[in-house]
């Protein structure tokens, strides 16, 4: 490994850790905002901004690392085991479907579409986990109202991360192809 390679790896590592730190701050911050909604546990999904940014600036593997570290650390900093189950099921399912829409859509789908898919499937994953825990499928009846809210915040998240990615591309390049 030559010097250039090493410095590139270090830069990438610092970038990943910065993303994780920022998503943790957003996660704590959004816990402080009360969301006026019928269903308890509804959040804005601000931390998803970081996941989407990671998806557009890093490789799929590294983006997953950012998401996984965020979930693990946020539960460590103040959460319970059940919170971990909900976060993991929602996070992983939303990640899978974000990669899916990004991969299939290619140039036709913008960040807004990807983040909306992520937001809705985050809800799907959480509700699936909830219905497995309480053993009734009737929990899934919350899905329509939660997806409408999720699409609303998903559009907002998409627009926000679009601005961020536009600027980050100038520094880092696209999809893991770093300068």
């Amino acid at each position: 490994m030559n010097n250039k390679e090493v410095s590139k790896n270090i830069r990438k590592m610092i970038y990943i850790s910065l993303l994780v730190a920022m998503s943790l701050v957003l996660h704590i911050f959004e816990n402080m905002i009360p969301v006026p909604f019928i269903t308890p546990g509804t959040r804005l999904g601000l931390a998803n901004i970081i996941t989407v940014i990671a998806l557009y600036t890093l490789s799929y593997k590294e983006a997953f690392l950012v998401l996984f570290l965020r979930i693990l650390l946020s539960v460590m900093f103040g959460g319970s085991v059940s919170r971990l189950i909900y976060s993991l099921s929602g996070g992983i399912l939303s990640y899978i479907f974000m990669v899916f829409t990004k991969y299939l859509g290619k140039e036709k789908v913008s960040i807004v579409g990807v983040s909306c898919a992520g937001a809705v499937f985050h809800n799907v994953g959480q509700l699936l986990a909830a219905s497995l825990i309480v053993k009734t499928m009737s929990v899934m009846l919350y899905l329509p109202i939660m997806s409408v809210a999720g699409i609303g915040t998903g559009i907002f998240v998409g627009i926000t991360s679009n601005f961020a990615v536009e600027h980050l591309k100038k520094i880092f390049g696209v999809n893991g192809q770093w300068f």
């Binding site: 829409t101 859509g105 036709k108 789908v109 913008s110 807004v112 579409g113 909306c116 898919a117 809705v120 809800n123 799907v124 499928m137 009737s138 899934m140 009846l141 899905l143 329509p144 939660m146 997806s147 409408v148 699409i151 559009i155 627009i159 679009n162 536009e166």
Partner: protein, 130 residues
Amino acid sequence: MKLIKKMDIVIIVILLIVSFIPYIMLKNYQRSYEGINYAVISIDGEEKKRIELKEALDEEFTFNSSYGVNKVVVHNMKIGIVDADCKDRICIDEGFIGEVGERIVCLPNRLIIEIVGEQKSSEGEDVISR
């Protein structure tokens, strides 16, 4: 890069449709039970009476037990409590029920009315469609 593209709107519409699937599935599940609905009335966990909710049935029942008295009325394929000697009278405020899975509970008198269904058999459907 254009912010919102045509495919994004397509994706959002698809996501909205997908999110309504469980709702529709559950409604269909309830509909498959629409054959005959029974109202099961139990006091202290013990089944006291099973009433078939037929269209023409219009009847009044009184349930006496050591816990209290409840007056139950069956009307228009629905069942409800109209009078009770308990303090809170929450069971009366619940109104009339008729869908499978619904229930009225009168906690002081330990009385529970539960709607249970019987699956519609495919033969019965054929007779109707003929």
